[in-house]
Symmetry: D3
Subunit: 305 residues, 6 copies
């Protein structure tokens, strides 16, 4: 269809107005010094490469065999490193460390050190994820073979992204870890804040709707089902009525706790080792080790004919 004069003028005007500096303030990050900007596509590639390195054959290339696994791993690590340096630089430029973004080269050197730190942690991340895979295989009677865990459990996607992003939090990288957790959230409906602390052998089943907040602490061998929220109850305000940042405000979950579907645990409460929280339970108080907290079903429904 031919463009007539009117639509051309409208297009020109609209692009003019949308690009005016005063209209870009909150919706566009202008890179005055040529620094890279975080890119969702690049961060997705970082996650994909990390998973391919950590679970060869299940993620990434499916032609892995004993002859080529090392070659694939090495090449994936090299690619990963280049992406990490670029995106870590982008994240650091956005963050507090670089009030003076003028020194992009200096920030890139710092990003390079942190990228190297991340590569150096890959074996430990693998070890933790290995424990997570085993936890699901032992814990879910429906699993028929270990491969099924890796191919079919969204928890593996969510927890691998969490463990990758959590290392970046420890390395002091801004924004990128949250992008990673948000990508996993979109894939799985499971929202784990990368700053949360989660022990080994962590099992998530089904998972849609799970929310785990930033200051949550989770022990070893914990199981969580779909719809569970480990959230904050309320925020401590300062004299200006602004929320005080950085205070612990999410639950502490002990070892071997099981939390069934749609349970909600709010605030800095402690759930003791081995406790069981039933489905749909709404919990804002401490639970002693070994206790079982269940919903009182009698109170909740009426039957009509």
């Amino acid at each position: 269809m031919a463009l007539d004069r009117e639509i051309e003028r409208l297009m020109a005007e609209t692009s003019e107005r949308l690009s005016a500096q005063e209209n870009l303030r909150n919706v566009c990050h202008i890179r005055w010094h040529g620094e890279p900007l975080p890119s969702v596509d690049s961060v997705k590639k970082i996650v994909a490469l990390s998973r391919a390195i950590l679970f060869p054959g299940f993620f990434g290339e499916s032609d892995i065999n004993h002859l080529n696994v090392k070659a694939h791993t090495l090449l994936n690590i090299q690619q990963l490193h280049a992406l990490l340096v670029n995106q870590f630089t982008a994240g650091l430029c956005l963050g507090e460390e670089c009030e003076n973004v003028l020194d992009v080269d200096g920030i890139e050197r710092l990003a390079g050190e942190k990228a190297m730190g991340f590569i150096g942690r890959l074996c430990d991340i693998r070890g933790l994820l290995d424990s997570d895979v085993q936890a699901i295989f032992r814990g879910d009677p429906a699993v028929t073979m270990p491969e099924e865990v890796l191919y079919c459990y969204p928890g593996i996607r969510a927890v691998s992204s969490y463990r990758i992003a959590h290392e970046m939090v420890r390395l002091g990288i801004p924004v990128i870890p949250r992008m990673i957790s948000e990508i996993a959230h979109g894939e799985t409906g499971i929202d784990i804040h990368p700053a949360a602390t989660i022990g080994k052998g962590f099992m998530i089943d089904h998972g849609t709707g799970i929310v785990i907040g930033a200051t949550t602490v989770i022990g070893d061998g914990v199981k969580i089902y779909q719809g569970v929220t480990l959230g904050a109850r309320s925020f401590v305000k300062d004299e200006n009525d602004d929320p005080v940042k950085g205070l612990p405000r999410h639950p502490i979950i002990g070892d071997n706790v099981v939390i069934y579907a749609n349970a909600t645990i709010l605030g800095r409460v402690t759930v003791g080792d081995g406790a069981v929280i039933g489905g749909n339970v709404w919990l804002t108080e401490n639970v002693a080790p070994g206790e079982r907290v269940l919903q009182a079903k009698a109170a909740t429904m009426i039957v009509k004919k």
Copy 2:
């Protein structure tokens, strides 16, 4: 593997049966007049281009800087316009306006006018989304910088898609707006009907499982958390026991209301300005301005040791 005669015959027969006109009635829209058919891929591109125009650098190309932002915006608008004309034509051909689809050219002209109308509204959509970004940045203590809001909040994806689709509803485009909201639903787990009315400064946190129905009205400055349903309670039936269409059947939410996780509000109830609805609350009645409605936790659980 060689195909033998048997599998070839089966393939031929199966494609014959699956393509027989009587078997296609409900599952295939035959385009007798060469009109375009809505395409999920094209609609996804419309969303991606709109987001790239509205939030340059965060969505779309990541190399945006002050030198090229206008050029990118103009080219994206041109691409967007072409896609809009095509998909609006497709949508209009499916809808009521075009009982006589024979005049595809006429429908395309109408689509062109509506596409122009949409382009003309981009600046206003930007303004509303700007208010949404600021609402999250001010409202969530966990956010460390404004860029994090744009990169990491699924609410931004869901609300930007809603605001885009809502404009198309206003322009009278059938089907395409719902496709857009469904694409965002798949991305985020947040299901906002494009016909709903939502004020400025709208904040969604986590978001998975949110459902907002077609006749919902939401004021300015509202916050909603994961798992919240703003739904219909029951349908008014006509004399034939068919639901009466178009009646308002979803809630009216006032300004500055907060609705916490997993709350359910059903029917044409009104929640007054500044009210707070607690987590897991099940609500089917009006709430006065400023009221706080919380779940009575004592009734809901028992503890066993």
Copy 3:
């Protein structure tokens, strides 16, 4: 950025350690005999091709018309067949049937027979999905035209994947059906185990957070809303305290039952024909035909001003 010696050495060491056989045990399936490994990308293509065959024009190519629908269908079936043989071989090699994977050719022949069996069932799958489309069109007053059902209802994606995967369960294919259901889970937030039994005319609305377990039995004409769980209550343990596999442990839902949002039904309970389960209900007991089970709202909230 130049790679220095240190990072190179770290990369070499890390790839060495990550590829060591003892570190790959749980996280990499080594294919000693050259057999194919299931590939998420290939399984996604199987789903996409099947949907394009079953709903021509709505999924896959959007240029379908009465002249080319048979040609597209035939070519899609041929492509589908080749992918099925490959992925069925991969699945069978992982599963119990092939303790001796040495005979990859024999397994491939078996996969070929099962792929042919699947192609032969496409017309019946189409018939069931046709009934599902009609159920949504008749059942949801918000739908304005049948095309909207196919373009905009995540239930169609989830149920079409279920019906495809369920046929593969019946054909005895390991792992691949679960991969398909997990892909649909990621797309829609709806998690239907492929071994579940679901009658015709099945309607899902919104859908995010739905979980339907492996031994669930669902009759004809059932409607389910977002957040519903049809789950297991507890596992029967054997003398070793291991869960006994294969026992029926999920609900039986009769014909024409409606289950509203966020209801939870656990264990091998029976919900009789025509029953209605209200939103947020927590149900672990049988429900008689025609009964309506609702949450007792009075007990659940308090209001503060």
Copy 4:
């Protein structure tokens, strides 16, 4: 690398100057009325689709078998038709027929008729190319099987492009036929003007450097080797010293003539049926039927030790 102010200013200035209307006159065709512009990529697709239709399996998809050949052919024809309408419109808008390009819709209708004319000629083009394939198979002792002709002879690429482009010349399409012959020229080094007339059973061997001018007439069963030029000798000038267009100025080659490598034949000379022109011959006069014209080798070299 960060862009500094200087390079940014240079970029802005350069793009400003390069886009100034006075600098675009000869190097950019501005489309004032939204008409399409010929696209090399689209024309390449036209050639690729035509070859896939004419030689199924050798060009295009390699999975052709007797079950799917018709389906592939039909879908390729549909795709081809859409591209033809678009590129014929573009060509006609550039050409003489459309001094008033304002009526793009009218030109598109004309293009549609010509596209239909082209589709209607595909069977005849196939017949001619069939005769070309047979001519090579019978004529070159080095060919071991007919498939080798189709896979390995650049003449097939050049002649198929010629026969496709020649039909477009007959349909009165400007520019597009020459684009096709130039694409084949790039692929093969063989430059056949689409307006030339070439009989059936035409064989080219090796081919690099062949040039066949616009008013050349070639009979049936002719063989031509690499480096042969069938060119113009000089142009008839009009009173303004401009070349007179449209006059025949290239050779007429009779049936069953053979022209060996690097021979040059210039001007409107006639080479009679069955004549043989030897390698490196420079010819500007008529040759009688059956004559053999060879280079006098004695005159051309000296030997030094």
Copy 5:
């Protein structure tokens, strides 16, 4: 543009006629037994992978370094092997060895052995190409560094393709080697028959228009410039007037011969070691070792003022 009934009928009829078995005889190879068909795209990938293996960094991935060269080589070899097995099978099915193509599995096993044979020859091919690179670097004063030879000499493309294809000829693979030489011909304008025999240290400069026939024998250290033909003079005919196949009919070129641009050498003549053939020379007789054969320029031009 809407398709009307007339064009639809034409498309249907045309695809019907073009797919009729009697019209496909010479232009389509129907694969009755499911065997693969040679694919130009696959053969191009074979060439690209082979070049990437033989000249790492110059062809294929440009990020080659000493850390990853072995990993890239191994993965490329694995990919190459899979393609070779497939295309060798396709070639063998077309060729004489497999009059009974019913046993596709047997042919594939044979192809596997030949693919292994090819892999086993890669080191020797590398050695020969190394000598070719050195010959150009030493022989052309215009070269400033060895890397320029690999990046900028079409001779390297043509000769590497020849050496790859020649190994396949030695392994008895039909058609595929000729496809490879034809692909290189298209890239470079240099047409070397894969059955020709060429010694080490072979140098081609510029190269466009070079033709080297199937029974040509070329010694070590030979240099050839653009437009040179080493061709056949005439064919020996048998009693049926058909050319006798397999007879040597192209020149034998000794060691260290130089042949300048556009020279033509025809028939089974011998050019002795160290001879020099001047530009444009037309040669059909033997040349003694060390002789220089030049064009007698005086005879060839006249000057007009």
Copy 6:
């Protein structure tokens, strides 16, 4: 097909041998300091972007109109700049300037300056190419419209690549200019050394087989046809019998000279202004201004009946 032990061992051994440092000496450029390596694909993109900038709509995006031509130009220039910096760095690292490649950052800064120099010359390159387009349009009676020149003349491809590459030679970039000329050579069969000097209004027709050497000097308004060589006759050798580099050894062609097909001009001869060199002429001596040099045809052929 399953890989057996034997082929695996062969693959491992072969990649080991091919990657051994002693076997890589001439065929792989190891980048010890992480510097970029020239990439044929990147250089192809440089050419494509430059052509899209210089001839908007004819090369690159075909949707150019007066509204978007500046936006496209700016974005293309930005992309081009980034590629130039990278490939200029790669070229400089290979060249003499950087015997100490340790300072990659310093070389990159130098590359940045040269890239800026290239951008600054784009308007002048455009001006020269404009004169070339006009020369063809005026000079070839077969051209019907100026657009045909840009779409259909390989000379435009070859000369635009030459003019781009020549600027890089002037900027002192090693290797990359030759890569550009070789890419154009592959596209068109026309081989123009980037160091040659060519005036404005240069016209090439057909072009296959043209070779223009490094020290050639060509005036304004020259026309050259296919197969023409402007080459060196012999090399001046130094005391070591090595060719002396950098000496002028190719022809000087005056203004408005015409050189017809397959003519060969060798050595540092001068062809005076307005001279005409006939087809197939072999020339190694000076030609006075205005002279016409033609092949003496009588001497060159004999006719047999």
